[in-house]
Structure formats: structure tokens, C-alpha cells
Symmetry: C2
Subunit: 206 residues, 2 copies
DNA sequence: AAAAAAATGGGGATTAAGCCTCAGTTAAAT
DNA sequence: ATTTAACTGAGGCTTAATCCCCATTTTTTT
């Protein structure tokens, strides 16, 4: 057990990042806290030798999102414990987070004490039993039940491409695109691409 | 000029709200800082007598959004200076913010010093020349050029209602809905409701 | 009072979306 | 080796969306 804990905060919103940094520094056991505005920047810091005990990573970021960032950290710096932070506390985000190898998940609706609790747990025991972890991660949900091709079609549908354009992009026939769309609609229980876009954007899917 | 400044922070994300609160309290001239998670709660606090010098209000909140909240504050507690905070620093949000009667606009991409600067300006001089204010607020942009009826149609289009449903909702004919839509498309330069939804959601219009 | 902007809605046309069934092929899993 | 899941695509259909044109009435502005 280490008494002083070093932290890295990674979030694209400066106001949040800097505030959280100050807030965390007010806890006695946290001795210092670096910050960066995206995943790439964070990894660069680590390469330069500024390696913390724990990294707090926002999921929605430009350049390199939180999932990718956590994956990279886990492969290059396995000693660093990672905590994902997200505004979207739905099953999809949480599941994807743990699949990326994160050690904990914190919602932006949680309290500072929750995040500090996770930090302490990870620093002292290397593990944190997440309050979000039991949100039935067992049964497949929503986008997770989509096949690779269906996900690709979904992504293009949400970029407002027509069937024709999607067919061109994927080198398949319009009819196949239509079949994929049909499956997506049934699996996600929607009847229009508008619903799909609303779903994807409000849940932070892409 | 008052030496001690009291603040209220209103934001639905607990983690951000509490962090900002701690961060602001670290500035010597800020003596205390209350917080609430939505506009209604904030106004209730004010009614109860907890009236601060300055209110920091997030624009995107449940129950009552930032624009409405600022309007209410300005009508019921005109002495309180308001600063809007937003993740969306586009012309639309900024313009709408000042129309609501806000005294300043702060992007969540700004630094803590920016927000502290705005607070000091407002507390000492009652005015803050915003770095965002000169972002050509003069020429009409995007959604702002829509008529009231067009905005209503836009809102319903983004809720994935069909023309038929919109017509029913607004007590007008489908043909009129179609004409409104036509105008919206031309004004916002889009060709599909999907683009419209993407535009609205990624810019925090609704 | 005159002009401009907003709201209304009809006619009509093309295109895209959505929905269903069926069926062959390929790849993965048991 | 056989079942299962994924990918592929055809035919055909219905409805909704998109995009023109036009005209009238109401409201607002000048």
C-alpha cells in the first residue's frame, strides 16, 4: 500500500478537467495530478515518463476516444489503473468500458466521493467493485447484438447516407444494405433512421 | 465593490458541479458557493433566501434548461448576475444565451481563469466583455432565421414524427407541414431530416 | 396605406424509405 | 461433418419523404 497516489485526468473540457484536478488535489492522499485534453496527449505524457498510479479517462473525446485510450494504456502501461468517466451511464457504455480493460466506471452524475472511493480502492487493493458493474452486463443489449456489417451500416445510416451511397461505400448491393437495415431496426426496435440517429447520438454510440 | 463574492453553480453533472465548486472556493475572493442540479432547484434555493451575487448556469439541463433558468432569474432576481456555461460554443447557443438575458457566456473548453475573470468583472463592474461576444452575433445564422412555426415543425421533425403526426399535433394540413419543412431545409441547407437531427443534437439546439 | 413576411394549403411528380418473403453462399462454431 | 449464424441479393409492394409549382389569407412592418 502506497500512501501518496498520483493521478492523471484526461478530458477535453478544460473547465471540467481543471476543476476536477483541483478537487482531487484537495484529498490528502492524492499528491499530484497531471492532466491532458485527449488520449494521444495523455499517452505522450506517459512516454515522457510522467506515469501516474491511476488514470481518469473521459470516454467521449476528440482525436482518440476513451475506449481506445484505455486499451492503449493497458497494453503499453499495464501497471496504471484506469477509471472511465462518462456522461452516458447506459449499459452499452459500461459494457464497452469494461471490455476495453478499464478497472472502474464512474458516471459524471456520481459524487466526488464515489470517484475518490474508486481511486482509493484501486490504489490500495488494485480492484474496485463497481456500483455500475452489476447493471446486468450478462445479457446482450442493443448495439451489442449487431453483427459487424450491421454496425457498419448503422454508422453510415447515422451519417445520413442513402442506401445507394451506403451500397457504393461497402461494395454490396442496395438490397443487401436494405436487409441489414431491416435487421438493425428489428434488433434495436425502431422504425426509422431518425430514431436511430437520436438513439446513437443521445447514447454516445459514435 | 464587494470583496467577498458568493456564487451558485447549477449543472446536472454532479462530478462537474462539485469539482467546480471546490475549484472556485480555492479563489480567495469567493467566500462561498452553493450548488444545485437543475434550474428549478436553483430558483427554489433563491426563494428560500440563499441569494448569491453570481449564478453559473449550465445550458443543457433536465427539468428546466439554462436559457429558461436565466430568464427566470433575471425577472425574479434581477440583482443576480448570470453566467451561462455550455459545451456547445457555437453562434446559435451564444446568441440565444444573450437573448435570455445572461451577463456572460463561458465555454466548457475555457480555462478556470476565464470563468474567474468573468466573475470578478461582473462583481466589480457589473459587466464583462465576453471573448465570445464578438463572434458575429450581428448576422442571422441557422436556426435563428426560422419563423416560430418553422421552429415548431423542426422540433417535431427531430422527434421523429411523420408529417401526418405533425399536422395533427399542430392542427394544420400535411401540405402546410410540408411547406414549412421545405423552408427549413432551404434555410438550414440540408436535404433530409436525418441531417436535421444530427445538426440539432450535435449543436444542442433542443 | 402599402409592402413585406408569415402562414396556409392545393396539385402533382419523383425518389427514397420501409417492410416482407424467399434463397443461395460463406464462414464459424460444435 | 453438420448445424448455426452471417452475408449476400432478388422481386415486389406500400407508404412516406422530398421537391417543385402555385395561390390565398393573415400578420407585421414600414
Amino acid at each position: 500500500m502506497i500512501n501518496t497516489i498520483s493521478i492523471a485526468v484526461c478530458d477535453d473540457h478544460t473547465l471540467f478537467r481543471k476543476s476536477l484536478q483541483i478537487a482531487l488535489n484537495s484529498f490528502s492522499r492524492i499528491n499530484y495530478c497531471i492532466d491532458s485534453s485527449n488520449g494521444q496527449e495523455l499517452l505522450d505524457e506517459f512516454e515522457r515518463g510522467a506515469v501516474p498510479c491511476i488514470a481518469l479517462v473521459d470516454l467521449k473525446m476528440p482525436v482518440m476516444d476513451g475506449y481506445q485510450t484505455i486499451k492503449c494504456i493497458k497494453s503499453k502501461f499495464p501497471a496504471i489503473k484506469t477509471i472511465a468517466m462518462s456522461s452516458f451511464d447506459n449499459e452499452f457504455s459500461i459494457k464497452k468500458t469494461f471490455k476495453s480493460g478499464a478497472d472502474a466506471f464512474i458516471s459524471k452524475n456520481d459524487n466526488l466521493e464515489d470517484i475518490y472511493g474508486a481511486i482509493i480502492d484501486l490504489a490500495d487493493n488494485g480492484i474496485h467493485i463497481n456500483k455500475w458493474a452489476n447493471i446486468n452486463l450478462s445479457n446482450d443489449i442493443l448495439i451489442d447484438c449487431l453483427t459487424p456489417k450491421e454496425k457498419e451500416v448503422l454508422k453510415l445510416l447515422c451519417r445520413d447516407l442513402s442506401y445507394h451511397q451506403i451500397a457504393d461505400e461497402m461494395y454490396i448491393s442496395i438490397k443487401t444494405v436494405d436487409r441489414h437495415r431491416d435487421e438493425i431496426f428489428k434488433k434495436l426496435k425502431v422504425q426509422s433512421r431518425t430514431s436511430l440517429v437520436i438513439f446513437a447520438l443521445t447514447n454516445g454510440i459514435f
